[in-house]
Amino acid sequence: MRASFFKLLHVPAAALLTAAVLLAGCATPPKDPDELAIYKENNDPLEPMNRYIFEVNNGLDELLIKPIASWYNLMLPDRVEQGVHNVLTNLNSPVIFANDAMQGNGPRAKITAERFAINSTLGVGGIFDVAANWWGIKHHDEDFGQTMAVWGVGEGPYLVLPVIGPSNPRDAVGYGVDSVMDPWGWVLPSHLQWINYTRTGIQGIDLRARNLETLDQIKKGSLDFYATMRSLYRQHRNDEIKNYDEKSNSVFTPSASVDDPSAKKPQLSQTN
């Protein structure tokens, strides 16, 4: 009885706390019309809070994640790393397939299903990307954030999430939905859930290890790393949503417009 009462209390308390953090983290819109135009273009009303979390994430990265990823890169032969990456990618197939399907993209859903069938068997549990190497059936990524974008959901203001990093409300919700949708979490009994957590951890290390040079390069070339990452994240997500198909040099989805006005034109560089 008492426990449930506290549980009930938790919800409004959490909501209040969130509201307080949001208010404290809010930037005041500038009055100058030029400054206001930038403020709107950045679409980052929580910038002070976001910058704070960004700094904390960077600190965590320098102290822990980057060293682990560098060590991982150094210790393991490239072929082993590639195998680990392939296994992780293969395990992600059900979620990608579900999102392909929810976007109404039959051809891409078929590709994902074929890849999963081929690589899980001939590719020895996904270690080898036989589908791409032998048949040229290449991997593509998809997630629920992109699915919602295809459905017409806007990205909302920029958001930096603890540990996870650059995001927005749409993609943050998408991330949660993808985790729930992932069938490996249901298949494993509760005492074996650690396997799934380990997988998430390795996924993070794999992602970081594959981007060691890229992130260093971005840091080296930018003046305001935060603003650069914000712009990169948005542009990259808009690009992912468009499902560029390299074979035909064309945009693959039926609804390419989404919330990116530049998607209608061949120019790729109009939005922030």
Binding site: E41, N42, L223, T228, N238, E246, N272
Partner: protein
């Protein structure tokens, strides 16, 4: 030959609203990017090049093939208007220094990646987007698009890596620095001087 004239006709057709402006043909733009790729690989990737020499060669390719004045104007965006002539000139010089310092070294790590031009598309505004693909040793393929314009000769006005535009990203970066510097272009120039260690 036939294919080339077809592409040229297509480019002319697609850029119809800008027919009066000198729009580059898609075929010419593709050839331009092809030749730049060859030039970059042959002159910048040598393992025995000194760092200074590599930067010097990179700078000269940058100046000959990129529309640096246009890119600078795009990057400064609304601050271009308020910047004085001296500030504009300072920005162009310091921005070029930043690009040289940040990207010339990349070519030292060159590991035999091949880049192939895969197509071109004429844009509404008279520019041409040339598509290319780079094969990484680990099997990944990177999409690299080049925006080519005719500014008294063919020049590159933007690089788009996997949908991420270089000049758009720098516009956000630079805009944020100026904004945090109280809207003063001088604050950006200070940040650039500090970052590049040049004057």
């Amino acid at each position: 030959m036939q294919r080339r004239s077809f592409l040229a006709a297509l480019a002319a057709l697609l850029s119809f609203p800008n027919l009066a402006a000198a729009a580059p043909s898609s075929a010419d733009a593709q050839k331009f990017i092809d030749s730049l790729g060859e030039a970059a690989i042959s002159s910048l990737t040598g393992a025995d090049l000194s760092e200074d020499e590599r930067e010097k060669r990179f700078r000269s390719l940058l100046e000959s093939h990129f529309d640096l004045p246009g890119i600078s104007k795009f990057v400064l965006a609304r601050y271009w208007r308020v910047a004085t002539d001296a500030e504009r000139a300072d920005f162009r010089r310091l921005f070029e220094n930043l690009l040289v310092q940040a990207y010339a070294k990349k070519f030292a790590e060159y590991a035999g990646e091949r880049f192939k031009v895969s197509g071109a598309l004429a844009n509404d505004d008279g520019s041409v987007t040339v598509n290319s693909l780079i094969d990484r040793p680990n099997g990944d393929q990177i999409r690299l698009d080049w925006r080519v314009e005719d500014v008294s000769g063919l020049k590159i006005s933007d690089l788009i890596v996997e949908g991420v535009s270089l000049r758009t990203t720098y516009r956000s970066d630079v805009g944020s620095v100026i904004q945090n510097g109280g809207g003063k272009v001088a604050s950006l120039l200070d940040a650039l001087r500090q970052k590049t260690g040049t004057q």
